[in-house]
Amino acid sequence: MDASFEAARKLGRPFQSVLIANRGEIAVRIERACKELGLRAIRVASEADCAGAATPSEGGPLSIGPSAPTRSYLNQAAILLAARATCAEAIHPGYGFLSENADFAEAVERAGLVFIGPSASAIRIMGDKIAAKRAMMAAGVPCVPGPGEPLPDDFEAVRSIAEEIGYPVIVKAAGGGGGRGMRVVRDGADMADAVAITREEARRAFGKPELYMEKFLEHPRHIEFQVLCDNHGNAVWVGHRDCSVQRRHQKVVEEAPAPGIAPDLAERVGARCAEACRQIGYRGVGTFEFLYERGEFYFIEMNTRLQVEHPVTEATAGVDLVHEQLRSAQGSVLDTNRFRGEAGGHAFECRINAEDPTTFVAAPGRISAVHFPGGPGIRIDTHVSAGYRVSPYYDSLIAKLIVHAPTRGEAIRRMQVALSETRIEGISTNLPLHGRIFADPDFVRGCVDIHHLEKRLREEANGKA
């Protein structure tokens, strides 16, 4: 590897073509951004997603493997070979699939292509919860109380750590995520079992037995900060979002800005996030996820990729995050003065999933008719149209409905009308759930915690019984 290549990799490098290693609405979203910047967008897809699509010579996607994700969208060799066959110069991983896979980022760079995302080392740091927490503490990002190091084997030492933090505490697997590999302990008597079970789970599910311990927050909100970085040491935060409306750790509705957050506190935390990015040499877009309770932010993890809910920040910060990702990967210098952190208006996003509205079981099938709303302040990100077959192989997100209005109240009203106009026929969707959320007085008032939706669903279920 010669020195000029190393330098180019550090600073970014111009490219004309981008292979999109993803599917669904995000592949459409990225393809649009590429075209807007005059770049050749190359779509690849599994056999299931190619069915009924145009051929590559007619502008359709190139089939790279069978329907199972492990043999297509997660198959690194197949994607790299497709990049070679199509003469792609860069790869955009989207979200999910290989987007936070450090080995893939490395393999892309080794193949002489640009990985549109952070360096493999930054992905690795953030993929390890203990390493991530340590990096955050070093940059002054507020963290959940608890040591930024693995729990010792000595049980008495574990118990004294818990007492120092104060019960309840949560024991988590260092390699875990998505709500798996964690256990709440409310009392010292339960500690031995909790540690033993979680350690065994961590060993089996994540391949490393390390655990760490933090203060458990009872009624937090989920608030996250969007950052934007270039390859030249510039980093800026461009807004925050509230993603507290969740079910089984899956976000359902997101909004920007998070309501009720004092601007000076947001500025302080946002600036620390940007500082952390500079310290770890981060590039591209990223998200710092926090729990927020009683006026305090507590870092939980960083997502080293574009997020599903990025459009609410785009609407309120006046930025195209995918354009910025592409430009940063090409080595452009980020003008941080364009961003003030304060939001213009208010935005909501509803994730429309093909699922049963009461059991939430995925409901694949053929969409017979579809009508999406329109008008000022409405954005639809989707890959579906009438006749589209929702595949059982992948996640059930079929569309994102995003609204933007001058105030939160107006945005809620706009979403209510937009939801009432939306029709998706032939399959079940969670549209009725969104209708109920936007009619829920607590949600309309704002600032609900991460347990609110599940609590409300339990109440509804009990009310019917």
Binding site: E47, S63, P66
Partner: protein, 155 residues
């Protein structure tokens, strides 16, 4: 049956410890006229096969030698990988297309190739049949599983 043969070819890309795969690759190597093959993957798998010097070519089958047999239903020979379709071996000197409309192919016969960088995978007829149509154009991209040849069974 065609589907199953295809997947057995495909499954070996990331793992070169399978003896059946090594045997298949060795056959292809002989068929290609090359004497040495080296593959490494991003997962760190690597394989090198060197042929003994006296391996003979697999000659493209001559369509004219079989009388046109009556046909039954049609089916497709599909691409084993996404890449550029080659109707003949790119290293060949006097090569003509390995299969044309009307050609008869034996089971296991190479009918074309898919090329990606240093990798050249053969498109193999899984069973004896007559080429009813060539779907892919030489030099153009084909996707994994895309039909390359439409076939009709010889009776």
């Amino acid at each position: 049956m065609a589907r199953r043969d295809r997947s057995s070819v495909r499954s070996g890309i990331g793992d070169f410890s399978d003896p059946a795969l090594i045997s298949t690759l060795t056959t292809w190597l002989g068929a290609s006229g090359a004497s040495e093959l080296e593959i490494s993957t991003t997962e760190g798998h690597a394989l090198k096969i060197v042929l003994a010097p006296d391996v003979s070519y697999v000659k493209p089958h001559d369509a004219a030698q079989d009388a046109a047999a009556p046909v039954t239903e049609g089916w497709a020979v599909k691409a084993p990988l996404a890449g550029v379709f080659r109707d003949r071996h790119p290293g060949g000197v006097d090569a003509s297309p390995l299969a044309r409309e009307g050609s008869t192919l034996e089971a296991g016969e190479i009918a074309g190739f898919v090329e990606v960088g240093p990798i050249l995978l053969p498109v193999i007829a899984p069973k004896a049949a007559i080429v009813a149509g060539v779907q892919a154009r030489a030099g153009e991209l084909v996707g994994y599983g895309d039909p390359v040849f439409m076939m009709e069974h010889a009776q």
